[in-house]
């Protein structure tokens, strides 16, 4: 048994790694965002998925203002330890455009197709 230490993950030059959020029930890929070691620790401690906002250079408790929180169901580490998969219970839409997921644009025959409307 290996105790998990966020500091043993591999971070990029900015001290960040990409985190994929996936819905625990539907399996949908909701979004990708970034964490530093402290965000990983806070996510595990609070079970509220907490990213590092690159634009604001601050911790970002997902849904803190919108209410669209991500409750952590499982956190998984990849083979290279430089990427995480957060399996979550998503409240409301995951995307800041109010769509269920961020990946709502599909490339079909060289054209961008919007697959999903914002929720009401």
């Amino acid at each position: 048994m290996t105790r998990f230490d966020p500091e043993t993950l591999t971070f990029n030059e900015q001290g960040l790694l990409p985190v994929i959020a996936q819905d625990h029930e539907s399996g949908e890929v909701l979004m990708l965002a970034w964490m530093n070691a402290e965000a990983v620790a806070r996510t595990l401690e609070t079970r509220k998925v907490t990213y590092w906002s690159r634009s604001r250079q601050a911790f970002w408790v997902k849904g803190e203002t919108s209410g669209h929180v991500q409750e952590l169901v499982d956190l998984r580490v990849d083979c290279d330890r430089d990427c995480l998969l957060a399996v979550v219970r998503q409240a409301g839409p995951a995307c800041h455009t109010n769509r269920r997921v961020c990946f709502y644009t599909s490339v079909k025959d060289g054209v961008e197709i919007e697959m999903m409307a914002p929720e009401a």
Copy 2:
């Protein structure tokens, strides 16, 4: 209708963006790797998912040597245009450790648990 041009995506300082590969049938998140604009174009043209290997600094046609190819089913762009989701038909295990997916380690109660054995 917007024609899709890989050059309109947002790449990092190395000219790369993260790409999530998801199994088209099971919905499993298989792996995360990186593409530059030319890798995105090659993936769309050949329908064989083609990453940029950061360690080898070369194009990496997934499965070219192992046979564990990823046939592109759908390519999706996220709201910020700085991340892609490749929905794929995966031949064999996706992970270089011969496991079905790269995210085979779960963090449970502060301990790392291996959830999946290498395939025979």
